[in-house]
């Protein structure tokens, strides 16, 4: 199962955080910081998998309290907690959490998964996610993700539902997304019907202006994604049928 999907930029600013297990806000921020710490340390070109023993990923049980942020206290707590159950060794391996990430231009895409997922498969899935975003936003860049975080979540919802992979076909994903977007627009324009048409167009213009006129920078993801990733992924992706 996929436990969490995170997007953050090179400075650790969250762009998307989606947890598929109940995690309180405070824990979410802690985890985000921890994972960023893990991931940002790594130079490019190394492997994209990380064992994440330091992560305090709370399960449903309340006995795992809020992580205190400092790894020292975590370590201490874990030590204390884990002394009694030595025999868990076998299960451990199966349910070991793994952080799988990819780094595109300014953004890190991070998936936290358990042992039931195929590592290489998830790596492909990140690729699917990014390409879907690319199609949905037409050359996606960090700013798109910032200003349309809700839509990013919707794209993600077409790929993963409740921690399980829903769809891996990019065409299907973007079709669904555009379908929903169309409906949304339709319902949004019904609001505008109430307004005098001239005002509505002004409002729309302003909205557009705001949208287009966002601060520059943030680097186009699309280009680098496309080439860079396709090359990297292509090497061992061959035969994985997400394109077809």
């Amino acid at each position: 199962m996929i436990q969490a999907v995170l997007i953050f930029n090179n400075h650790g600013k969250p762009r998307l955080s989606k947890f598929y297990t109940p995690v309180t806000s405070a824990e979410q921020s802690t985890l985000l910081a921890q994972i960023f710490q893990l991931v940002s340390d790594r130079p490019a070109g190394l492997c994209n998998f990380l064992d994440a023993p330091g992560l305090v990923f709370p399960g449903g049980k309340s006995r795992r309290g809020v992580a205190k942020g400092k790894s020292k206290s975590n370590a201490l707590r874990r030590l204390n907690e884990y002394q009694p159950d030595d025999e868990e060794g076998e299960n451990d391996e199966e349910d070991e959490l793994r952080v799988i990430y990819r780094h595109y231009a300014t953004l890190y895409f991070v998936f936290v998964v358990d042992g039931g997922e195929s590592e290489l498969g998830i790596l492909d899935l990140i690729q699917v996610f990014v390409e879907s975003l690319d199609r949905s936003f037409e050359n996606v860049c960090e700013l798109d993700l910032i200003f349309h975080f809700d839509e990013v979540i919707l794209v993600l919802a077409e790929i993963i539902q409740g921690g399980l992979v829903l769809e891996t076909n990019i065409t299907e994903i973007s079709t669904r997304f555009h379908e929903a977007a169309a409906q949304r627009k339709a319902s949004a324009s019904s609001v505008k019907e109430i307004l005098p048409s001239s005002l509505a167009s002004i409002a729309a213009d302003t909205a557009n202006g705001i949208r287009r006129g966002g601060p520059p920078g943030g680097g186009r993801l699309g280009v680098s994604t496309g080439d860079n990733v396709r090359n990297v992924a292509g090497r061992w992706l061959q035969g994985l049928g997400f394109g077809a």
Partner: protein, 1071 residues
């Protein structure tokens, strides 16, 4: 009502103008960006105002405004702001008829709802309504929502609606419904029972995505309980063979992995296909999953040669993958390689594997390094251990950047710990059988310690956490201890090369006082084994080596004990004995408890050396005698620091030893402390001088070399003086903490001692020194108490295997009550006689009586006492005792102490002293490179714990620490899967049994009886299984039991239901 409507309408109409007052999400985000550039405070302030605004917006009745506020809050939630207070408004927005708003509502629900029971009840209706909407997108939205926030109650209520969607016309809805089903089942296991067939049917859906989703769900459930779906193996198998979708194939492979745990026979059918798939496909991810399925699914058995071939094939494939030099492939490859090699150690001989692993061990990716590290112990043998350990040690050194300076980036703490523990575990495996040369190993340990705890490059004290320091210190410390115990010939080496330095090293005290625990223990235990090898050929040098031994002992002693000198000199900085001073205030009471014990042993060791060096028939010349007394008084002084220690154990130990030692001192000096004072004053004088000379040196700003020169002069001067004066201030000279001076001092010291000896032998004892006899309390009682049993390694579980002595009859009354009365008084007298009074008397009288008389007297008394004790119930007769002890543990008197047979009391005293240490039975000796390694001793023929040397324990702990979060997430799922197992076991194992039955040749007959039995069994089991774990193991046990029945009787359990299901099963098998 009408007013409200109007109101909202007005607001809506005013909206275009109100845009100035309501902030959109875009404004919010821009605001955050702007303010975060300014300062964190302004950002926080901004957040506060925004949240207040949102609150106000939520209070309006305009849905559009509310939706926007909710959207903003959802965004803020990502920054860690709680939005649970807005749950009701979220519901409101969710209920909007406008898709745009509904979408925002669902978004907020998905992101923020955290099992809020009250609200979920309200939400249930909304879910139901949306599920039955005509709009596919809305249904999809609702299904996503359910999949995220489902709770047991919601699951129960919503179950039927979700199930209906499984047969929706749109595949999009069907697959979403299927995934939502999984979450429903987790919360409401009954649903699986009721809708089992519908789920299975979805495996035949015409849309691949739906099939994929179904497999996905089955895979997740099977991970928790593989028994449920094991009957549909053939179905899965055919799906795998017929699809070209690699995602789906990978999923099914994962599923097989879980299923093969409960159905080992499936591998015969499946493995060939997987191998075929593996060789055919080009996708590396698929190749890897094939290998992983074979290996992790436990489909290879170690003793089948065909399986070994498959293993070899997998390994070759892996190596092929590695050739791509993609780190991701290397990572997963190493994971599986470990499993293959563990199963078929023979495959390691492939040179490619070894060189590959070693190459990645030295690579620059830390994660890969860690994985390669795990593989290390599989690669090691006696020939290459040196190379591999060297490689590992290199990893502890900070990587050098191009300009040759150590790069500022240090090796991560975690890696340091795991490398350290890996080296130790490699070396200590199989009772150190891989170690070619133990001196090398000691050096390695020393390197690990220094490299990992005292990296040279940086002021790294803060860079490694206290916990890791402790782990490493414990690891290395334990290793030294176990080496000392197990490899007797190594003790002098360890003492000389490690321990002596370690006691003088203030850094250890600052960084990892835990380490001292082991150091002190070793000092205490093996103080007599400090040896200077290479000296003991000739007689003369033997004396010299003894002198060196004594000087090291004394210098250790002084380092630890001499804090009083600094106090008297009122030195606050640049102390002569910083360690001793710090020890007084050491927080770690574990170390102190050991230190107290060790100091007493150390003193006893010094005394022994004195006796061998200067002693004549157990007596010492007057000056030496006084020196011993002086040492004793120093020890007493030091220990009295702990009289009031807050830790009860420290206090207790120091107090009881103090009592004993004070008695000894009294016995030695009899209240006349003047000679000790004298020595003390001389000592003080000396250090004052040293101080002055140091200050002088500082003023003159002398070079180091001349510094030590002057030191040497000083020392030799002193020792010359000493031989004239027959006093001994230079003993303390040795104790400077500077290693350099220490060595010089040791030399000077040895010289002095030689001089001493010569002068003594020349002039004979009578001239200057009359002999003084050491009080019996100190010798032999103290030393025999501490030394009469050697410590041996004992296997972990031996204690429980100690056989109950046959002749021990606890029922039999040994003494009748009337006899008892008479003995009591006598026994009391006896106590005094034995320990205190007698020693007092003898120590005083003995000095008057000639030796032979003493002995005779002794013998006579012994005999007398033996006679008296004949019937004493409190004493075991010596022969009786022997037999009993031998029945228990056959102690082998290695160092026969002079008083072994002297009195039973002594023996028992010694035993009390030793009782907390492991005892020995028979030592099996393992010859290896001229070094004897003692095996763990095993009591009886019961097998001990599988080769777990003492060191193993801390390692295991570290391993645990690093694995920790592996199962963290388990809780949520498992808990529910426990519930799910309950129906699963009693209903669905029938499917499994049906299959088994078909596989087995002859069925029929007697079925009813058997099946009933097994059914009732599984029933009770499910009842009992409340917690996840127990349910799991129970069901497993139940399975294996029923399997056994199958095998032995060749029949499968069947029930009434069986006949019903049988047909279906046959059909399944057929395809």
């Amino acid at each position: 009502m009408s007013f409200q409507l109007q109101n909202s309408e007005v607001l809506a109409r005013l909206k275009p103008f109100g845009i100035l007052f309501e902030k959109s999400l875009t404004d919010l985000i821009k605001g955050i960006r702007g303010h975060s550039k300014e300062s964190p405070e302004s950002l926080l302030q901004f957040f506060d105002t925004v949240i207040v605004e949102c609150k106000n917006e939520l209070a309006t009745s305009d849905l559009e405004t509310k939706a926007m506020a909710i959207l903003k809050l959802t965004y803020l939630e990502m920054y860690g702001f709680d939005m649970s207070w807005s749950n009701f408004q979220i519901l409101e927005v969710m209920a909007s008829s406008k898709f745009q708003q509904k979408r925002i509502g669902y978004l907020a629900v998905i992101q923020s709802f955290k099992n809020d029971q009250d609200l979920l009840i309200l939400a249930t209706n909304q879910f139901k309504k949306d599920l039955n909407s005509y709009n596919h997108t809305e249904i999809g939205l609702a299904l996503s929502g359910i999949a995220t926030i489902v709770t047991p109650n919601l699951a129960k209520d919503i179950n039927d609606d979700v199930v209906m969607k499984l047969s929706h016309s749109s595949p999009y809805i069907r697959k979403k419904a299927m995934l939502a089903m999984y979450k429903v089942i987790l919360q409401y296991p009954e649903s699986l029972r009721a809708n089992f067939q519908r789920i299975i049917d979805k495996l035949d859906d015409e849309d691949t995505a739906v099939v994929s989703a179904t497999i996905n769900v089955i895979c997740e459930i099977s991970k928790k309980n593989p028994n449920i779906f094991v009957g549909y193996l053939p179905k899965f198998f055919s799906i795998m063979n017929n699809t070209s979708n690699n995602w789906l194939v990978i999923r099914i492979l994962k599923l097989f992995q879980s299923l093969s745990k409960v159905e080992p026979r499936m591998k015969k059918r499946i493995m060939p296909s997987i191998v075929e798939l593996m060789t055919k496909t080009n996708a590396y991810s698929l190749i890897y999953e094939c290998i992983n399925c074979i290996v992790s699914g436990d489909m290879l058995s170690a003793d089948s040669s065909r399986d070994q071939e498959t293993g070899k094939l997998c390994l070759d494939k892996l190596l092929l993958m590695f050739a791509k030099s993609d780190y991701n492939l290397v990572f997963v490859g190493l994971l599986t390689m470990y499993k293959i090699l563990k199963k078929f150690p023979a495959l390691i001989d492939d040179g490619a594997v070894r060189s590959f692993v070693l190459a990645h061990l030295g690579g620059n990716d830390i994660i890969i390094k860690e994985k390669a590290l795990e593989l290390c112990d599989l690669l090691v043998n006696e020939d290459n251990i040196g190379e591999i350990v060297k490689k590992l040690l290199f990893q502890l050194m900070p990587p050098e950047s191009l300009d040759g300076k150590p790069s500022p980036k240090l090796i991560p703490e975690r890696l340091r710990v795991s490398i350290a523990s890996k080296i130790v575990s490699i070396a200590s495996s199989n009772n150190y059988s891989n170690i070619p040369n133990f001196k090398w190993y000691v050096a390695v340990l020393k390197d690990i310690f220094n490299l990992s705890l005292f990296p040279e490059s940086l002021v790294a004290d803060n860079l490694i956490s206290f916990e890791s320091t402790k782990t490493i210190a414990n690891l290395i410390g334990n290793e030294y201890v176990s080496l000392c115990i197990k490899v007797p010939s190594l003790r002098p080496t360890i003492l000389n090369q490690v321990i002596i330095d370690a006691t003088q090293d203030t850094r250890i005290l600052e960084v990892c006082p835990v380490f001292l625990k082991y150091i002190y223990w070793i000092i205490g235990e093996y103080v007599d084994e400090i040896e200077y090898v290479g000296y003991d050929e000739e007689d003369e040098t033997k004396v010299e080596s003894l002198g060196l031994k004594l000087s090291s002992q004394v210098s250790i002693f002084n380092t630890l004990v001499n804090c009083q000198i600094d106090i008297s000199l009122k030195r606050t900085s640049k102390k002569h004995f910083p360690i001793s001073d710090k020890l007084r205030f050491l927080a770690d009471s574990d170390v102190l408890t050991l230190l107290i014990q060790a100091l007493v042993k150390l003193y006893s060791g010094i005394l022994n050396t004195y006796l061998t060096l200067y002693g004549v028939n157990g007596e010492l010349p007057r000056d030496k005698f006084i020196q011993m007394a002086y040492f004793l008084s120093k020890l007493i002084n030091f220990l009295s620091n702990f009289e009031q220690h807050y830790h009860y154990e420290v206090q207790e130990r120091s107090l009881s030893w103090l009592e004993f030692l004070k008695l000894c001192l009294e016995a030695m000096m009899g209240g006349d402390l003047a000679p000790i004072r004298e020595l003390e004053l001389e000592d003080l004088e000396y250090y004052k001088k040293l101080q002055v000379s140091e200050e002088l040196e500082q003023e003159l700003d002398l070079e180091n070399s001349s510094d030590s020169d002057s030191d040497e002069n000083l020392i030799s001067n002193m020792s010359l003086n000493e031989s004239v004066q027959s006093e001994e201030p230079e003993v303390s000279v040795l104790a400077t903490d500077d290693l350099e001076t220490f060595e010089l001092a040791a030399e000077g010291r040895a010289l002095a001692l030689l001089n001493d000896l010569q002068s003594e032998s020349g002039a004979k004892p009578e001239t200057a020194n009359e002999l003084e006899s050491i009080p019996m309390l100190l010798h032999p009682i103290l030393s025999s108490m501490l030394k009469s049993h050697e410590i041996r390694p004992v296997a972990k579980n031996s204690q429980s295997n100690v056989p109950f002595p046959e002749e021990l009859d606890l029922e039999r009354q040994i003494v009748h009550s009337e006899e008892l009365q008479g003995f009591e008084d006598e026994a009391e007298d006896e106590l005094y006689d034995d320990t205190y009074i007698e020693e007092q008397l003898s120590s005083e009288q003995n000095s008057i009586l000639p030796d032979s008389d003493v002995e005779r007297e002794e013998a006579r008394r012994k005999k007398e006492r033996a006679a008296r004790l004949q019937d004493d119930p409190y004493y075991l007769k010596s022969d009786e005792k022997k037999s009993k002890v031998s029945a228990k543990r056959k102690p082998k008197p290695l160092s026969p102490s002079p008083d072994q047979t002297r009195s039973p009391l002594l023996l028992s005293l010694a035993e009390i002293g030793e009782s907390k240490r492991p005892k020995s039975l028979k030592s099996k000796v393992l010859k290896k490179e001229k070094v004897m390694v003692l095996d763990d001793e095993v009591v009886g023929n019961a097998s001990p714990a599988p080769e777990e040397p003492v060191i193993k324990k801390p390692q295991k702990k570290t391993a645990n620490v690093f694995k920790i979060d592996a199962s963290n997430l388990e809780g949520f799922d498992l808990e529910s899967s426990a519930k799910e197992t309950t129906p699963g076991v009693d209903e669905y194992n029938i499917d499994l049994d049906a299959i088994r039955k078909l596989l087995a040749e002859d069925v029929e007959k007697k079925l009813k009886k058997k099946s009933k039995k097994s059914k009732s069994k599984s029933d009770t089991k499910t009842d009992a299984g409340k917690s996840t774990k127990s349910t799991k193991t129970d069901s497993k046990a139940g399975k294996s039991e029923s399997r056994e029945e199958l095998v032995s009787n060749g029949e499968g359990p069947g029930t009434e239901i069986k006949t019903k299901k049988k047909k279906k099963k046959r059909a399944v098998i057929a395809d």
